[in-house]
Symmetry: C2
Subunit: 126 residues, 2 copies
DNA sequence: CATATAATTCAATTTAAATTGTACTATATT
DNA sequence: AATATAGTACAATTTAAATTGAATTATATG
């Protein structure tokens, strides 16, 4: 299909904004590798826990990551990728950036849109 | 594959930053529909030509859109999606957010990582 | 109960980018 | 040659978000 639902575009826009931050992209990259505890994220990314917590909050609010507390010691928190959200992100992204959506040119303004008429006139005029 | 090339991640990060801006996403959306003349973009998006020009410049610098001048009147400029860049964007995005990359959990810190030993000790202790 | 730890929250600051307004360039038209 | 037009470039402003530092919560441990 050529046209896209405005709601879909808005959803994509929200997710892209969340995901486009360099630090968050690196966090996601680590979570994809299965790393989950907050402390290891901070160590591997060389970031204060503050900041990790902030970015994880943004990712969580967007529904991209899930949270789980340690059963033995509730002080520890583990993060993981939300598989369903990931699937939806992929679906929306693919739908929007699908190359098949590209339509042939049809400029609605400028001389090109009336090129034929101009050519005809040129033959008639001196 | 589970791991990703750092250069690939950086490339994705750059593109995501370019594409995550709401206005630019809407511009891309129109360009996908084949609209190309600058003036129509400005009209349909209710944006000053200034700003359209700025965002198109960002998109162009990222290689995502191409520029073409009118043959009959060189004042007019037409923009279009760069198909090759679009394909690459899709490839990089799909590689990064591929759900198959998600690994099973293996927290490297916290009590969970030593849960078995704790259980053993519990049986020994009074 | 007092202390330590993992994480979060809040306020203040810094940083980056979008937006706006104006001036400029290039081309075309009369 | 003078004027109009499409688009761009630049400087100033505004806006949004990341970052930082300090304070707070909740749980665990001695």
């Amino acid at each position: 299909m050529s046209s896209l639902d405005p709601a879909t575009i808005e959803k994509l826009q929200t997710w892209l904004k969340v995901v486009s931050d360099p630090k968050r992209l690196r966090i996601i990259n680590l979570l994809m590798e299965g790393v989950q505890c907050n402390c290891e994220l901070g160590e591997r990314l060389q970031m204060p826990r503050n900041l990790i917590s902030h970015h994880l909050g943004v990712l969580r609010q967007a529904g991209l990551v899930e949270v789980e507390r340690d059963m033995l010691d509730a002080r520890w928190v583990y993060y993981s990728i939300n598989r369903a959200a990931l699937d939806e992100l992929n679906a929306v992204f693919d739908a929007f950036f699908n190359p098949d959506r590209i339509q042939p040119r049809h400029p609605a303004c400028g001389p090109q849109s009336v090129q034929e008429q101009i050519s005809e006139i040129k033959f008639i005029e001196p």
